[in-house]
């Protein structure tokens, strides 16, 4: 589940003064709570697991060096994640793997194939021609593992901006406010990217459940 969901970290002012005082247990707690999500986010920018790990390491080193100057204008988590995103961006430039963060991605148009809805000449224009399927709950371990793998693939294939937003929101459990602050995007922009990304992943699951049904 999301790395922050079950987090029992104390309020920011306590975290910051503990770090400044050299409290190792506090640093270890942050390291273990946030690094999981940070690795996943770093991987959306760089090409290998090793690079992702280095990005996370460099981020924490920067945090260690800058904690005395932290001004509290954002939450500690947002601050750390912003350092992470900047570090990862620099690294991806060095790897000549610059993500087209600002390039045009297909952010417009319907997320569900319009041919799945009745046209204007129908009795109920815009209604489903065929009802979306009721999906099985992946109860068996094997099915759950397959779904997990499928989602990993679907995430990896997303356009970069969609991938990072859905990773922060749905995989890591950040709030929309946190995502907007970390990526410096508007709430509306964040929602469009998230919705498109979710729709793509949903489509992959739909294909999968359809193929499982046909195989039965």
């Amino acid at each position: 589940m999301g790395s922050f969901a079950g987090s029992t970290l104390p309020p920011d002012d306590i975290v910051v003064s503990a770090l400044r005082a050299g409290d190792e247990a506090m640093f270890a707690a942050l390291l273990d709570t946030w690094s999981r999500g940070m690795l996943r986010v770093a991987r959306t920018y760089v090409s290998t697991d090793d690079s992702a790990e280095e990005v996370v390491q460099d981020t924490w080193l920067a945090v260690i060096g800058a904690i005395d100057g932290f001004e509290g204008r954002s939450s500690v988590k947002t601050w750390v994640y912003r350092i992470l995103v900047n570090t990862a961006k620099k690294r991806s430039v060095r790897e000549s793997r610059t993500l087209p963060w600002s390039a045009l991605e297909l952010d417009a148009g319907p997320t569900v194939d319009p041919s799945r809805f009745h046209g204007t000449d129908a009795a109920l224009p815009g209604s489903w021609k065929e009802s979306p399927a009721v999906w099985p709950t992946p109860e068996s371990q094997a099915l759950a593992a397959e779904v997990r793998g499928l989602i990993g693939e679907a995430l990896a294939g997303l356009p970069p901006r969609q991938r990072i937003v859905i990773t922060l929101r749905d995989v890591e459990g950040c709030t929309s406010e946190e995502v907007c602050e970390i990526l410096e995007i508007s709430a509306a922009n964040q929602r469009v990217l998230l919705h498109r990304a979710r729709a793509v992943v949903r489509g992959r699951l739909e294909d999968y459940f359809e193929s499982v049904k046909q195989a039965e």
């Binding site: 589940m1 999301g2 969901a5 400044r20 005082a21 050299g22 190792e24 640093f27 270890a28 390291l31 690094s35 999981r36 999500g37 690795l39 996943r40 790990e53 996370v56 390491q57 924490w60 080193l61 260690i64 060096g65 319907p110 997320t111 569900v112 319009p114 809805f117 109920l124 224009p125 815009g126 209604s127 489903w128 009802s131 979306p132 399927a133 009721v134 999906w135 709950t137 992946p138 759950a144 779904v147 997990r148 989602i151 990993g152 995430l155 859905i166 749905d170 995989v171 459990g173 929309s176 709430a187 929602r191 998230l194 919705h195 979710r198 729709a199 992943v201 949903r202 699951l205 739909e206």
Partner: protein, 79 residues
């Protein structure tokens, strides 16, 4: 209250789930969902997708990196 076709409803589910819609739109979605089983299924698929996304395998820093960072933190300890 705003009226939605099924084709329109599927595009605002994320906004609906984030409670980011204005009141007339929100009411319109709720009325639509109360009588459209098809969209109900689609929203269920969307929720299942979100739930499944939160179930990715955990990541972990390597032991070596964690140790390096702990010692970097230790060495900054104020004198």
């Amino acid at each position: 209250m705003k009226r939605f076709t099924c084709g329109e409803l599927v595009e605002v589910i994320t906004a609906y789930l984030d409670d980011a819609l204005d009141q007339p739109s929100r009411a319109g979605i709720e009325v639509h969902l109360s009588c459209c089983e098809d969209c109900g299924h689609y929203v269920d698929q969307f929720r299942s997708t979100i739930r499944a996304l939160g179930d990715q395998p955990p990541e972990k820093l390597s032991h070596g990196t964690r140790e390096r960072l702990m010692s970097a933190f230790r060495s900054r300890r104020p004198a």
